[in-house]
Amino acid sequence: MATEMDKVDVVTVGVGWTGGIVAAEAAKAGLQVVGLERGRERGTEDYQHIHDEYKYAIRYELMQDVSKETITFRNSREQRALPMRQMGSFLLGENLGGAGTHWNGQTWRFLPYDFEIRSMTEERYGSEKLRDDDGYRLQDWGITYDELEPYFDKFEKTAGISGEENPLGGERSNPYPTPPMMKTRILEMFEEASSNLGYDPIMMPSANLSEQFENPDGQTIAACQYCGFCERFGCEYGAKSSPEVTVIPAARETGNFEVRTHSNVVEILTDEDDDSQVTGVRYVDTRTGEEFIQPADVVVLNSYVFNNYKLLRVSDIGQQYDPETEEGTLGRNYCYQIFGGATGYFDEQFNTFMGAGALGMAFDNYNGDNFDHSDLDFLHGGNMAITQTGNRPIATNRIRPDTPSWGSEFKKESIESYTRTLRVQGQGASLPHKDNYIDLDDEYTDVYGVPLVQLTYNFTDQDISAQKYLAEKAAEVVEEMGANEVVVDAEISDYSIVPYQSTHNTGGTIMGDDPETSVTNTWLQHWDRDNLFVVGAGSFVHNSGYNPTATVGALAYRCAEGVIRFAEEGGRLEEE
């Protein structure tokens, strides 16, 4: 029998960025919050020997143990879904801080166009361009950029983001809290080339801070030392904004927040007599195997895209999406991203091994609807960037397409290219298609006996066109930078779960203003269960041409406001 714990005001399932934000805000407002974290406690003191590419980047030391839980995957419904036995395409987080511990820190706001993509596309190009008949499911988010702006502002202040105004981004109420990072030779070359070509390059907004910063919660984030170990690593300086150095200590300092580690939530509990509420969660102590029930007035799902979906599904909350009938909303609009870039080969050697996760420059002239799509066979686009994140030797072995992948020629070229190649890349948006969705697997289970999430996903024809377009534009920039030789990325075909692409999975528990087409309202409050909130990149209706974290953070602040309001007043938050 499960042990029942004392009831709390709020329980967060997962304690990463979104769980930390909700916990900090709710705890500051005087609510009693418990955070259930399946992994272990961790913080800056755990990253003292972090400059180990093999352990952390290649063997995924900080990430989810997929022997316990993974997903299954197939490209289409005709295939048998098989387990993702090894991590690859994306890196699932685990332990306190979640993926917020090992992110790069590139902190872009989504564009105004993103939130009103359907209306704005229709208005400019007509409804044909939406391609509903081809299975695309563009949808407005039910909230505008202007409505979200205060929450973006709040997240940027919490994280102390270093950056400068983007002439092609949405309007800002305030400048970035800290100035941009240092401009390096590599970045200057990109800046000059892209300016020559008529673009508007800016320094990338960065969570690796240009200077020490004390955030509004009184938490101090240190200044980045440009050591070149960010993505897949934790920061030994506490100079990369992450939940462990910002919102989690802020929540703890209130005295109203308890983190319970090694606590894996397996079910959201409901009351048979009241289908408008949930009552708490059931979780397993991952060390002892004991089961616990944590009753709560408000339950907030703060785990990753897949597990937020999974908990709703296994708890039978909401209706599963069916790609044949398109009925049901849970699991729809799964999106990912595409990358179109080009690599330039130079005589000059560069300090490619130095850097920081968000040290870069970028322009948005080919992102969103910042360019005319009338004659293009795709919508949206991507942020075009050069980054100097610190290339490492195991993972960085660039060779030309016709060079053998092993032997002397490989060795020579991969060694020479290590300091002599620069890469420009567009991070392409991904638009929802009716055939891309998440479901529950009927064959494979996790270590707790709960079915695995099943992903059905492939690139769409718009993805393929956009990737090619971005790669060609990237090649022009690389050429303008003075490369002797430019190698353009190959065209994409079927999505593969094997090579790393990006941990920017989105959708499945999307937000909106209509319960027929979304899982939560724009306060991230579940349509069917008033005291259940679901927030994260799973809330995204489509995926933009940017990294997701700033938008995730903004939604989490809005969710936190909703949780506090609900705790005070109850009821449906969209009704007012």
């Binding site: 022997s67 995957f73 390096t184």
Partner: protein, 267 residues
């Protein structure tokens, strides 16, 4: 493009060390560097087994290779086969030392005995089905089992094609055998759902690169010579005072443990 020869490289590094006042220690583990005197910068602690915590229990082999002992490969012929296969992936040449000199086979040996070889952090529950390439690895075999099978099949293939064991072949013929694995032509002797020659080749290639460039803590990348070839400085606390330099800064690499932790790398 013009490449520096080993001699030039040696000069520039020595020059660099001199001008930056870095102490160059005595020759440590110099014997393992064979003919590559030009790359033998010494003074690095990555080759200093006493300092960096490596197990220095073995002696030297006939080829002058430092032998830290083996955990996984108990059969000398097996170890010789995989060592030579790794050497063909990353051969000793005028760029510098190859996989064997760099200790990559010892790296692999330790990895196969641990989490990596036992796929500890990977989903290994059945049922197992052959999948599409896009679905990734689907075999029931652990890496340690796949390597053992691969070694067996390397020799089977070598005997079929050239009538001799893999390790007795000339480099060119070894390359031909490896190419047959890379291109899926070799016979693994098991159904494709269990193992394909491409699976084995892919693992062999990535393990070799890992053994060449991982921190010396893992027994490969001896003397940090892999890093030196590539101009990767290893573990440096910061680059904040150098990152705006207009030209590439050459920095003597530091290992994670046992290096010159003066708080500032050597810059």
């Amino acid at each position: 493009m013009a490449e520096k020869g080993p001699d030039e490289k040696q000069f520039s590094r020595r020059d660099f060390l001199k001008t930056t006042g870095v102490a160059t220690g005595g020759i440590i583990g110099g014997s393992l560097l064979g003919g590559f005197v030009g790359f033998n910068m010494n003074g690095d602690s990555g080759g200093d087994t006493a300092q960096n915590g490596q197990q220095d229990t073995g002696g030297d082999t006939a080829q002058g290779q430092h032998d830290p002992g083996r955990i996984f490969f108990h059969n000398d012929a097996e170890f010789e086969t995989i060592s030579q296969a790794m050497e063909r992936i990353f051969p000793e040449d005028d760029m510098g030392p190859g996989a064997i000199t760099l200790g990559a086979p010892y790296f692999l040996d330790m990895q196969l005995a641990g989490e990596y070889g036992n796929n500890t952090k990977e989903y290994m529950q059945g049922p197992f089905y052959a999948g599409e390439t896009t679905q990734g690895y689907q075999s029931r075999l652990k890496r340690s089992e796949l390597f053992r099978l691969g070694i067996e099949r390397l020799n089977a293939e070598a005997n079929e094609q050239f009538d001799d064991d893999f390790s007795n072949l000339e480099g060119e013929d070894q390359d031909e055998i490896l190419t047959r694995f890379q291109e899926g032509e070799a016979d693994m002797g098991v159904p494709p759902a269990t193992a394909t020659p491409e699976d084995f080749f892919g693992l062999l290639r990535s393990a070799t690169i890992e053994g060449v460039y991982a921190d010396p803590l893992y027994r490969g990348n001896r003397g940090m010579e892999g890093w030196k070839m590539k101009n990767f400085p290893g573990h440096q606390y910061q680059y904040i005072d150098r990152i705006q330099s207009d030209s590439m800064v050459e920095i003597e690499p530091q290992p994670l443990f046992g290096g010159d932790h003066n708080g500032n790398g050597n810059g």
